[in-house]
Structures are given as C-alpha cells and as structure tokens.
C-alpha cells in the first residue's frame, strides 16, 4: 500500500509542476520545450519497445505511424473541429490521431505477420516510404510544404498527462495475459502456440497498441511544433526512436524512459558541436551495441512497475537447496 501512496504523490507532484512551470515560468522556454519533447519521446520509445523489445520483432515504421497520428489530429483541429473553448476538442483530436494510427497499424500488421524473421522490417520500411510520399502528394494538407497554422494546444500539463497515461497503459498490457503472450512469442513462437497462444492475433494486437501510441505522440508533436511536413517523419525520425529504445534497453519500460531521457538530454548537450553531434550520437549507439548489446536496462524493469496482484502470494520461506 505504501508504494501506491508514494507513486500517487510523485504523480501529483509532477502534475502540479507541469502546471506551475509554464504558469510561473520556473524554467526558461527552451528548457520547457525540451521537457515537452522528452514526454513525447518517452511515449514513442515505450510504444516501439513493445514491438522491438517485448515482441522481439523489428519494426522501422514508427515514424510513419507518428505521421498518421500527427496529420489526423492536426486536420481535426485545423479544419474540422470549430475553434472554441470546448475542453474536449484537444483530447478528442489526440485520440483520433491514435485511432487513425492504430487502424493503419492493423492494415500493415495483417500481411506483415504472415512470416517471421526480417519480413516485418521490410514491410514497415515500405510502409513508412508510402506514408511519406502519399502525404507529399496530398495538396489539401500542404503536400511537401507541410501543414501550417496548427494551434499550440500541447501544453505541459497535457503532455504530462498523456505521457503518464501511455506509460501506464503499456505497462498494464505488459503485465497481463495478452502481454505474457507477447513475451512467450519472443522467447519461442512454436512453444507459445503449443501453450494455446493465438500468436497471429497477439502480434496484431500488440502492433496496433504500439501504433496507437505512436499516433498519440504524433498528435502531441504536431500541436507542440505547430507545423508538420512529410520530411519530419522520414526514416531519420525512426532511427532516433530506435536509438532511444536500444540505448535504454529492449523489453523494459523503465529502460525506454531512461533511453528517451538520455537521448533528449544528450542531444541538447551536444548541440554546440554542430554537425559533429550527428556523428557522435550514432557512434555512441555502435559502441553500445558492441559492449552492452541489451542496452542500459535490457529485459529488466523497475520492481515497482510490477502490479502487486501479479506477484505470487506465499508464506515466507527459504530455498531448500
């Protein structure tokens, strides 16, 4: 029970801070923006980790789903939903972005999971290319020039709330029956199926959930940057997210949070180096893969992430060895 109170209090404090920081300008605008991008990066890394870490597949289409969510939600706020004070307008747009991305995820997942191995990487790669070039050809959303004039609705409290919600839901999924199905598939697909896991359906569901949150992150991103264009969501963006996931560690939600934080902070710290920054970041990734291939927290997680109901209840005892 104690643990619940601590987490609750921390979240409350975070919420209060996320409201107070912009209200009383406790941090300069640059740091505020960095914090908000950090939240979005956490959502992106955690959701991609579901596929590349927990499921053990390799997707390179995350930026594509992010783009779908960004455009869907931006179209809603810019063109369809009236500008008004209605409080539900923004969350609705973000949800819509997530749902659009999830549906796209379904369309990609149905053919992509027919065979194993590198097939998903190839299909998601082709998918990301299609999204980008499709957006470049739709003049209604600005074509290659992009979509301008998006309202800055992504405020710090909103981003905080969505980040916490996303991490919570993904963590819930991981510690549940379908989540264990995902883990079993990573460990041994044949054995999982022989234990009664409908592997195809589990994979498609996991992929849709990951896509949903990529879409949510895209929606938040669009309303933070207030401008989106197809170029923003190219393969480089996916590479950034991959770096966060593998830096933090595969199969670990805590790892994704750590990875996204380190990536965001490093990127800002190395900014004075100019172009060299973009040489050093991938170099760090290569060194990491060579010397610590599972990332910082690979396959381990903060113990307090585990729901108490999931722990075995038993009388205290010692090993009989």
């Amino acid at each position: 029970m104690n643990r619940h109170w601590t987490i609750g209090l921390l979240l409350l404090a975070g919420a209060a801070l996320s409201w107070a920081i912009p209200r009383y300008e406790l941090l300069n605008p640059y740091l505020q923006a960095t914090l908000m991008y950090l939240g979005i990066n956490i959502i992106l890394a955690t959701s991609l980790n579901l596929i590349n870490g927990y499921l053990g597949e390799f997707s390179v289409g995350h930026a594509g789903f992010m783009a779908v969510g960004a455009y869907a939600s931006a179209i809603l706020t810019v063109m369809l939903l009236p500008v008004g004070a209605a409080a539900w307008r923004f969350p609705l747009a973000i949800m819509a972005g997530g749902c659009a991305a999830a549906l796209t995820g379904l369309v990609v997942a149905i053919p992509a999971f027919r065979t194993r191995g590198d097939y998903l990487a190839i299909v998601t790669l082709a998918f990301a290319m299609i999204v980008k070039s499709a957006l470049e050809n739709i003049n209604a959303v600005g074509g290659p020039r992009g979509l301008l004039g998006i309202e800055g609705l992504s405020t710090m409290p909103w981003i905080f709330a969505w980040t916490v919600l996303s991490v919570w839901v993904i963590r819930n999924f991981v510690y549940s029956n379908p989540g264990r199905g995902v883990l079993a598939i990573r460990e041994d697909e044949v054995a999982a199926e022989l234990m009664g896991v409908n592997t195809r359906r589990v994979k498609i569901r996991a992929f849709m959930i990951a896509s949903f949150f990529a879409g949510v992150a895209g929606g938040l991103f669009a309303h933070l940057l207030q401008f989106i264009s197809p170029r923003i969501f190219d393969i480089t963006k996916t590479t950034d997210i991959l770096v966060m996931v593998y830096l933090g560690g595969v199969g670990s939600i805590g790892g994704s949070i750590v990875g996204a934080s380190m990536f965001t902070v490093l990127q800002e710290c190395l900014r004075p180096l100019g172009v060299w920054r973009m040489v050093i970041m991938p170099l760090l990734l290569v060194l990491l893969m060579l010397f610590r291939p599972r990332g910082i927290m690979g396959l381990r997680d903060f113990p307090w992430f585990r729901p108490s109901v999931e722990c075995p209840q038993r009388p205290p005892e010692t090993h009989p060895s």
Binding site: N52, F58, P111, R114, T115, D118, Y119, A121, I122, V123, L125, A126, F127, M129, I130, K132, S133, A134, E136, N137, G143, P144, V190, I235, T236, T239, L242, V243, Y246, V250, V275, W276, M278, V279, M281, P282, L283, L285, V286, M289, L290, P293
Partner: protein, 291 residues
C-alpha cells in the same frame, strides 16, 4: 512509340544502378542473414569518391572507377571487421542496429566535409546518337553495359568458383563450413568487399548520370535498392538484379506517364503489394525451418 523506347532505355539505366546496389544487400544477407543498413551510405561514399577522383585527384574515367570501387571495398571490409564481426554471435538485431548507426555516421561524416551538395564534373565526353527519334547517349550505354558486365562476372563468381561454393557453405551453416576448412572470416570479408565495391561502382555511375550529389543521397536510393533486393528474393543474386530492373522500370514508367511526384508513391505501393503476394520475393524460397 519512340517515347516509350526512350523511357525503356532510361529505365534500364536506372534499373542497372539499383541492381548493382541491391546485389550488395543480397550478398551480405545471403552469407550472414543480416540486413546491412549501411550499404546505401556506401553507395553514397562511392559517389563522393568519384567526385574526389574527378576534382582533387584529376583521374580519368577508368582509374576513377577503380578508385571508387576499391575505396568502397576497403570501407566495407573495415566496417565489417570493426562493427559487425564482434557481433556475429550476438542477437541478430544488434548487428542491424549497428549497421544503422554506421550508416548515420558515414552520412554525417560526409556532411562534415561537404556541408552542401556537390556537382560532379563530367568524366566521360558523352556523345549522343539519334536513332528514329530515340536519343541514345554514350554515357547511358556505358552505364548499362558496365553494370551488366559486373553482374555477369558476379554471377559467374558465385555459381562457378570455389569462392561461390564457400559463400554458399557459410550461408548454410557457418560452424560446419569452418570445420570443413572454409576460411570463414576471409570469405565473409571478401563478400563484404565485393558487395561494397559494387555499391561503389553504382555510386560512381550514379554520380555521372545524375551529377548533383549530397550526403543523404544514399538513404532513399539505398532503401529503394534494398526493397528491390527483397522483391527479387533476398539472398538470391539473380533476384537482386531482377528486382533492381523492375524498380527502375516502374519508377521511370510512372514518371513518364503521371506527374513525377507520384513516382515514389506508386513504386513503393507496387512493391508493397508484390511483397504481400510473394513474401519471399520473386525468385526467393523460404528456408526450411526445423521444429
């Protein structure tokens, strides 16, 4: 009709470049079952080596081509030894991520030395002939002939020599191949060298055909060539060539009859559909899986 022939010629030119790059992907995949995501950037380095050879070194055509190919071969071997070899026993995904990182490093290192796009001077005094309304440039013919020669040579190498046998043995079972006396490390390095040198040749020819080059040129072209290799059947040499030519044809024909902005969209959509219909590619076959 002449227009169509013209476009077919253009398609062959672009397709042969894609095919050369696709071969590099497919060879590495064939021997290591690893997607070498840095290969597109090796192609880019090949184009920049062509630029260096033509401007700084002032080489003529043949030496410049060899310079690009050997430079890329060396780069390929160095990358393999430093970045991929230590990961041979690690999970496969580690090597893929490493390859992504290496590719990014190549791009941005090139960016450090060349912050803006470069124009490659003509290394080949191109003549052109007009045959019944079709313009045939000697450069175009050169690109196609040279690519086809390289491909025929490679096909012979893999099918008819001991090296080819060694490559196939390693791709089947690395441990057993080593026990049978195949020098595994050397053969893998050589495979990377050959793949990278073909990528270098592709970069060289690309730079002559489309002379404005920049550090990011390898990203899109590389991914496209990779998908071409997959469409042909990844791991299959002839499949990579076929996939390259199919991609070239689709792109040129789309651009010829539709607004050119649709080129990538339709090319990728077609490849996507093809992939879904034939998951193992046109010439590829599923590897038997033992349960």
């Amino acid at each position: 009709m002449a227009y169509l022939f013209q476009q077919i010629l253009n398609a062959l030119q672009l397709g042969s470049i894609y095919a050369l790059i696709a071969l590099g992907y497919t060879m590495v995949y064939g021997i290591m079952t690893m997607i070498n995501f840095a290969h597109g950037d090796i192609f880019m380095v090949g184009a920049f080596l062509c630029f260096v050879a033509a401007t700084v070194l002032g080489l003529s055509f043949i030496p410049a081509l060899l310079f690009s190919m050997l430079g890329c071969a060396l780069l390929g071997v160095v990358i393999e030894r430093l970045a991929y070899k230590p990961l041979r026993e690690a999970p496969r995904v580690s090597a893929v991520i490493t390859a992504l990182g290496v590719g990014l490093m190549l791009e941005h290192l090139t960016l450090v030395f060349s912050p803006y796009p470069r124009h490659v001077p003509a290394l080949w005094s191109s003549a052109s002939w007009h045959v019944g309304g079709v313009t045939l440039s000697s450069l175009q013919v050169l690109i196609i002939v040279l690519s086809v020669l390289l491909m025929v040579f490679l096909d012979w190498l893999v099918r008819r020599t001991m090296l080819g046998l060694a490559i196939r043995a390693i791709s089947w079972d690395r441990t057993v191949a080593a026990i049978m006396g195949v020098p595994v490390d050397a053969v893998i390095s050589l495979t990377f060298a050959i793949g990278a040198s073909l990528g270098g040749a592709a970069g060289f020819l690309y730079a002559l055909a489309y002379p404005v080059i920049d550090p990011y040129m390898g990203v899109i072209v590389g991914w496209k060539a990779f998908i071409a290799a997959v469409v042909g059947g990844i791991g299959n040499i002839r499949g990579a060539m076929l996939g390259g030519f199919i991609l070239g044809a689709v792109e040129i024909l789309v651009a010829a009859f539709l607004p050119s902005t649709y080129r990538d969209l339709i090319a990728f959509a077609l490849l996507f559909i093809l992939l879904i219909c034939k998951p193992y590619g046109i010439l590829g076959q599923p590897r038997p899986q033992k349960v």
